[in-house]
Symmetry: C2
Subunit: 141 residues, 2 copies
Amino acid sequence: MTMPSAVTILTWARLVRASAKALNTAELALKQAGLPPLEWYELLAELQHKTPIRPRDLQGPLHAEQYSLSRLIARTVRAGLVLRRPCPGDARGHTLELTEAGTAMRAAMWPVYGAAIEQALGTRLTEDERLTLAGLLQRLV
Amino acid sequence: MTMPSAVTILTWARLVRASAKALNTAELALKQAGLPPLEWYELLAELQHKTPIRPRDLQGPLHAEQYSLSRLIARTVRAGLVLRRPCPGDARGHTLELTEAGTAMRAAMWPVYGAAIEQALGTRLTEDERLTLAGLLQRLV
DNA sequence: AGATTCTCAATGCATCTGCATCGACCGTTT
DNA sequence: AAACGGTCGATGCAGATGCATTGAGAATCT
């Protein structure tokens, strides 16, 4: 395996830095607004438009490990945002859905999250540049 | 604050995904080679070319919190890779330097880390594209 | 000098994470 | 039906993290 060029290393460093900074901005904004962390939002959002859904079907979309997801769900259930129901036809599992409070929480989080995204990306690049960036990034996945 | 456009949101998602995948690849490669995690490499590398150095002067370059860095250093010291010495002229602090084993560990990690970088970026984009990407990412920092 | 304020680095505590494993249940095979 | 391997989701444990605070020492002020 040939070792990376200087440009490749520079790009690597910037990729790591940029995404860390972007994520940090968003997490901080949520925290300062007294709201739960980003991963809660992703879960609530997923539950919102595919509902009811089983935990194992969330692993892919949320890119989360099984145990990680299990505990994330437990936290949101404890917070009253998510409801666990027995799963019809499979007594091992259960299905998840949002509570009223869960829907409200997602709604409350979006303005803060969205503003952070806008601040991180929207105000720093033109629409064309974002399109170019998105195209290049996709090639990395 | 205006909410992000669809392209902005897409770009955000891809940025987060791409960097998570890239970092994951590297961490996994190191783990599978029986080597310490990425952050150890960053510390060892920093120590290699600015030495001796004090912990607080590493916070910036490593983008680490004070307590986080303090514990990272403690781990590498325990592993015999880093040496703490009393700091001349400031009895509160100490200076850090690499041990022989530390230098060797950095050397052992680079091929694995470098290969992961090359695999994540080098084989997926042309040099021109990497340059474009690096340019766009810099604007986010 | 003495008092006050600031900086450096470590740490107690609660929470979170990764790994391995568990118990429960499903589906298939014989 | 009994046995077996596979899947679902939770959890014990060890280690890592974030937050707030500490103790020691430096710097500044009066």
